[in-house]
């Protein structure tokens, strides 16, 4: 019998040496003449512990981490003693407080199964959602997603069921399901983890969406910065076809559905849904005016469901367990769970899926353990580059679309980026303007030109030049950006800029003097 080890193939593990760890374990096993079965699982999402090696033992899986390649021989000796002692032994991973406190509905399998084994997928509950969907039929699928309360996880929080209904009701020769896997927000990696760690889940979600609306073709638009996710999908799709999850008779139904992976080319704005469609059609990623909505005239002018990876990946659970099982979690109009991503200068960074309603303070301090540097946390940017910077005084804000909006913030795709007290918010505000300038699609003047001007004016503020007048200019520019932008790249850049000004005036020279007067 061979010894089964798990060494994550997730890009975040590979980036800190997981491939080398796997190779070193293999070499050590050869020397000891033992047969190894190394599974390249997804990541559990506890990144401080990567490379997290797990050993299958009589008492379940035992983890060791973080493991460097040099530690492989000693680790193998411990592993051979049925999960024996080793300085880096962490016990059963699921008992780690960081994992034990989560409610993993979407991430139930990630880090546990072999991502490319359809057998593993099925044994761990996969495909039951599709089976239910086939039995229920299109209108009941739409009804289930609608009553689950699922809202788009890509940022805008639009009800997913309504999108499905609109496309289902449209009459057209061809309909499409497009998965937005552009995941451009800094501080986010949940889409990537699903694509690498549980790709069949996304494919199943897309297939169910296809059945619901009568679409036969799907595209997954993945950013080029994610080579491992692209590779995992390219390998999972043929397996999914062979298993009947895709193909002429999806899930044993009379309906066809298939998907194709398309790779982006390094443009943040292509995460915006209409720019993404332009890009898929082979054009510059420029934002389209709405209407028409993609649900009416989307890809190649046809009715199109376009959703984020996490929205689509939530659908199999909703079908398998029922809309209520999902809807029972959450608060207010934010139903279900959110895979929150703890990033930046944080001690326990990683993927934390939990019901809506957890406060920002719980996430950053209790779960995240505060700043990794050991210094006080000064600011937290939630929701990517277009999200606001919040100070610790706003840590009582619950993770909820409306609660963040009420405080001039947004939860976006669920990224939480922590900064310690060495951060200068004037520089962060400047970066927000610079990022907008770099990534602008160029259609609107305020976004294309105003952002460049904004960065220049903030430079002047930083160097102490006519600070008060220049701050007024920045506020003016933000006003123009907000009103004169076609999409949220220009329209939301004021969130990080104005929140920095409002909550951290001490970083903007004269503002400090003003506040003191």
């Amino acid at each position: 019998m061979s010894l089964r080890l798990y060494v994550p193939g997730d890009a975040a593990a590979v980036a800190v040496g997981a491939d080398e760890v796997a190779a070193a374990l293999d070499a050590a096993a050869a020397v000891r003449n033992v047969a190894l079965d190394i599974v390249r699982n997804g990541s559990r999402g506890v990144f401080e512990l990567e490379t997290l090696v797990e050993v299958e033992t009589a008492a379940g899986r035992i983890g060791y981490g973080p493991i460097d390649p040099g530690e492989a021989p000693a680790l193998l000796d411990a592993a051979l003693l049925d999960g024996g002692t080793h300085p880096k032994r962490i016990g059963r991973p699921e008992d780690l407080p960081f994992l034990a406190r989560q409610t993993r509905l979407t991430f139930a399998r990630c880090g546990i199964t072999d991502p490319l084994s359809i057998g593993d997928y099925r044994r761990h509950g996969g495909l039951t959602g599709l089976e239910r969907a086939v039995a229920l039929g299109p209108s009941a699928i739409v009804e289930a997603v609608t009553s689950s309360g699922l809202r788009g996880r890509g940022g805008a929080g639009f009800p997913t069921g309504i999108k499905l209904r609109t496309v289902a009701e449209a009459v057209a020769p061809q309909k499409y399901v497009v998965c937005n896997a552009d995941e451009g927000d800094s501080g986010t990696f949940a889409d990537r983890m699903i694509m690498e760690g549980d790709p069949f889940l996304l494919i199943e979600g897309m297939a169910i969406a296809g059945l619901a609306v009568g679409a036969t073709r799907g595209f997954i638009y993945v950013r080029s910065e994610y080579p491992h996710a692209i590779a995992a999908l390219e390998r999972a799709i043929p397996t999914a076809r062979a298993a009947g999850l895709l193909g002429r008779r999806v899930g044993g139904s009379e309906r066809a559905f298939d998907v194709e992976v398309r790779v982006g080319a390094g443009a943040y704005v292509c995460g915006e849904e209409t720019a993404l469609l332009e890009s898929l059609e082979g054009r510059r990623g420029q934002v389209r005016a709405k209407p028409p909505l993609p649900a009416h005239q989307g890809l190649f002018g046809q009715p199109t469901v376009i959703n984020n990876v996490l929205s689509l990946a939530a659908i199999p659970f909703i079908l398998a367990e029922g809309a209520d099982a999902y809807c029972d979690y959450g608060m207010g109009r934010s139903r279900g769970t959110m895979p929150i991503q703890l990033a930046g200068n944080i001690r326990n960074g990683g993927l934390f899926e939990t019901a809506f309603g957890v406060t920002l303070g719980e996430l950053v301090e209790d779960i995240g353990g505060g700043a990794r540097s050991g210094r006080p946390v000064k600011a937290v940017q939630v929701g990517g580059p277009l999200g606001a910077y919040f100070p610790p005084t706003l840590f009582d804000t619950p993770f909820d679309y409306e609660a963040f909006a009420a405080r001039d913030g947004l939860i976006g795709h669920g990224g939480v980026v922590v900064f310690d007290d060495t951060v200068d918010l004037a520089r962060q505000a400047r970066f927000a303007m610079e990022f907008c300038a770099i990534e602008s699609c160029g259609k609107c003047t305020p976004c294309r030109i105003g952002s460049v001007r904004g960065a220049e004016v903030l430079d002047r503020i930083i160097s102490g030049e006519a600070v008060e007048a220049n701050i007024a200019l920045v506020e003016d520019l933000c006003h123009t950006l907000r009103l004169g932008s076609l999409c949220a790249l220009g329209g939301f850049t004021p969130f990080p800029v104005l929140s920095a000004l409002k909550h951290f005036p001490e970083d903007f020279g004269a503002y400090k003097m003003n506040a003191a007067e």
Partner: protein, 159 residues
């Protein structure tokens, strides 16, 4: 991991070859919205998309040269000049900034100034935001970077 292997093999780009380019374009042309897949395929083969490629792409896909040019210049990934043998794409986004990314970027800029084997480019997030600073080195993700670790990685490339 086939795609990783392909984009990781930056050192083995071929010299421009119009016949081979035409075959590469032809192989992707059947796709709906084929232009991005075509430009990616050319980039994988030649490391860039030279001006000579534009008319071939345009005529094969039955679009104007201006359209091809417009797309080629819009996306950060496409290059019109031959690349250096190695590419370091260093993340400059917020979560990496919060973990010392800007100091590392300044160091990398100094270290690679005038370097004719490793090109330095900025990228904005690689999805490695709890393990930053992060980068793609010849298409391979690397994280928990500091000057010493980056130096070691670059030294491996120089060998």
């Amino acid at each position: 991991m086939s795609f990783v292997a392909k984009i990781g093999a930056i050192v083995t780009f071929s010299a421009w070859d119009a016949t081979r380019a035409a075959a590469i374009i032809e192989a992707e042309a059947h796709r709906d919205g084929a232009l991005l897949p075509v430009l990616h395929a050319l980039s994988r083969a030649f490391g860039h998309v030279p001006d000579e490629a534009v008319p071939i792409v345009a005529s094969t896909l039955n679009i104007t040269r201006a359209e091809v040019h417009g797309v080629l210049t819009f996306y950060h990934d496409f290059h019109r000049e031959p690349p250096l043998p190695h590419m370091l794409k260093l993340c400059r986004a917020e979560a990496c900034q919060a973990r010392g990314g800007e100091a590392l970027a300044a160091w990398a800029q100094t270290r690679l100034a005038g370097c004719d084997t490793v090109a330095l480019e900025a990228v904005y997030c690689l999805g490695l935001c709890a393990s930053g600073p992060a980068a793609l080195l010849d298409g391979r993700p690397v994280a928990r970077l500091d000057p010493a670790r980056l130096d070691r990685l670059l030294a491996e490339k120089a060998r």
